[in-house]
């Protein structure tokens, strides 16, 4: 009689590694071949993980089709087994998985679309926070604004790709024109995702705006983030970009290191 640990390991191997002999002699026949009995669990597991990916990545599903996603889900669940009792996090490595399989080839855009869709899922469930207005800047001396750190809202994500990922996403939404097509070589897109009251908004950003916000998101001081944005576009307009960030409610906290945190 195997220990409880050994039994569970063998069950897992039979179920997810398709090891047909792992449970030999341990399962009652009782009118049905034990292998058929394990098959019920195997099918349930495949369906559960496929449905989870399909729910988290509806655009990828549209792009590759039911059959292909079924196959990808089977490979993914083996290579990236679920690490939590909460299925919500199961799909978090799907973009990396797609990049490994399709990186560099004609389907390279799939991984970037998956990154966008995962960002969408993250935004849906990210913590709540109060945004601050542009007046939050008024308390800082003008000569120290370069050192300013602006913390982004936890329900904000920034995704950039060399492919037109936002247009791909939009064309695969319910109600989009099925006749419309996209030239994959038509240029990259930078996307801001933020949570509104009842949905997630996806917004195309100018490359320099994306660079500024991504710098701030990483905790870089405003001066350095602006340098990076200027390297992206020499006519980058900081005032407009900052006004946009505050107006969209992207900023929750402003501080200058080594000085007292002025707000919260």
């Amino acid at each position: 009689m195997p220990s409880l640990r050994e039994l569970q390991q063998r069950f897992y191997d039979a179920l997810l590694l398709d090891d047909a002999t792992a449970l030999a002699g341990l399962v009652r026949t009782n009118g049905l071949d034990p292998e058929d009995r394990v098959d019920v669990y195997r099918n349930n597991a495949r369906e559960r993980f496929r449905k989870t990916l399909a729910a988290d990545y509806p655009v990828i599903l549209q792009l590759v089709g039911e059959q292909c996603l079924r196959g990808l889900a089977r490979l993914y669940m083996r290579e990236h087994p679920s690490r939590s009792g909460d299925l919500q996090s199961f799909g978090h490595e799907f973009a990396a998985f797609l990049a490994m399989r399709y990186g560099g080839g004609e389907y390279a855009y799939l991984a970037d679309v998956a990154r966008l869709e995962w960002a969408y899922q993250e935004v849906l469930i990210a913590p709540d926070a109060e945004s601050v207005g542009v007046d939050a800047l008024a308390v800082f001396p003008a000569d120290r604004l370069e050192q300013l750190k602006l913390r982004l809202h936890p329900a904000v994500r920034l995704v950039r790709s060399r492919f037109p990922i936002l247009r791909i996403w939009q064309l695969n939404q319910h109600g989009a024109d099925p006749e419309e097509s996209i030239d994959l070589a038509s240029g990259g897109e930078a996307v801001l995702l933020r949570r509104l009251e009842s949905h997630v908004e996806l917004r195309r950003l100018a490359a320099a705006d994306w660079t500024l916000l991504t710098g701030l998101h990483a905790g870089v001081a405003l001066g350095r983030a602006v340098d990076a944005a200027l390297a992206e576009a020499h006519d980058f307009d900081l005032q407009r970009a900052l006004a946009q960030a505050f107006t969209l409610g992207l900023i929750v906290h402003c501080s200058i290191p080594d000085s007292t945190d002025i707000l919260h």
């Binding site: 039994l7 179920l15 399962v27 049905l32 909460d86 469930i125 936890p154």
Partner: protein, 292 residues
């Protein structure tokens, strides 16, 4: 939050009445809040509210203001040899503190090994070793949550040659030894009985009535495996007549207990769930009348 840590809007006891409730899933959140249907309580999957922010927590807060709420976990995998997931448990504790549920429940199953999750409710061998393990785990969870929990029997498609007792003996022993209550899923009893060839009424009759704190009712599918019917617990169909009959038998023994209508796949509109809950309510009325 007031001084006692309870949200003022949740000041009521929040205890679950011995009436019919429904499992509330996200597709029905809007229609539920818009129509405020006449069900006596609501159950949600704990894990669906682990998120720190966004729309989900706001929905549950609104629901909880007007309805007693039960938290039903699907991911703690109590019977796994892996150590209990401390993060998972801490999140559950935070939910319990925030929403003050009338009942908290989990499953008699395992589901993960070596940190890899099947995200399924897998059957245990019914052995002395497994019994000691599950009892210790239930006690650990009850200590962490500072309250009693209910443990639910799951549907199964295989059982182990090593089992030295029946599932009903095992479940009863877990409850008696750990001090937890039993969530009796009548559909799961029926599904397992058909899949393993035991008499479902025997199971129902053997469960200690005083330990049953809740009953689940759901639907299943009938699939063909190896030329034989296997019942699969899909929660995607109406409660079948046989299960209603078993439910009536259970109520006769146990008396009126909170009863849940549970759908998780192919969900119909909210009204269909309410109609099923009303049917359970009529069973409960009869039992209450007989007890009066």
């Amino acid at each position: 939050m007031n001084e006692s840590g309870t949200h003022p809007a949740l000041a009521g006891s929040g205890s679950i009445p011995a009436g019919a409730g429904i499992g509330l899933r996200s597709v029905h959140h809007d229609s539920f809040l818009a129509t405020r249907p006449a069900v006596s309580w609501v159950e949600v999957h704990s894990e669906n509210f682990f998120a720190a922010g966004g729309a989900q927590p706001r929905v549950l807060e609104q629901v909880r203001r007007d309805y007693p709420v039960s938290l039903h976990g699907v991911g703690l995998v109590l019977g796994s040899i892996d150590p209990l997931d401390r993060t998972h448990l801490a999140r559950l504790r935070a939910l319990v503190d925030r929403y003050q549920p009338g009942l908290v429940s989990e499953h008699l199953c395992w589901g993960a090994i070596g940190g890899r999750h099947t995200n399924d409710l897998l059957p245990l061998p019914y052995t002395e070793e497994a019994l000691r393990h599950v009892v210790a785990r239930v006690q650990q969870v009850q200590d962490a949550l500072d309250r009693t929990i209910l443990i639910e029997n799951v549907s199964s498609y295989l059982d182990f040659t090593d089992s030295s007792m029946s599932e009903w003996e095992f479940l009863s022993a877990v409850a008696r030894s750990s001090g937890c209550g039993i969530l009796l899923d009548v559909n799961n009893v029926y599904v397992s009985a058909r899949n393993h060839g035991f008499q479902a009424p025997r199971y129902i009759d053997a469960i200690p009535a005083a330990l049953v704190g809740e009953i689940h009712l759901a639907g299943h599918s009938v699939d063909d495996y190896g030329g034989r019917d296997i019942l699969v617990d899909t929660h995607g169909a109406p409660v079948c007549d046989d299960v209603w009959a078993l439910y009536a038998r259970a109520l006769e023994r146990i008396g009126a207990v909170p009863t849940l209508i549970e759908w998780d796949t192919d969900l119909p509109d909210l009204a269909t769930l309410i109609v099923e809950a009303q049917q359970a309510e009529r069973h409960l009325e009869v039992v209450r009348a007989l007890a009066a």
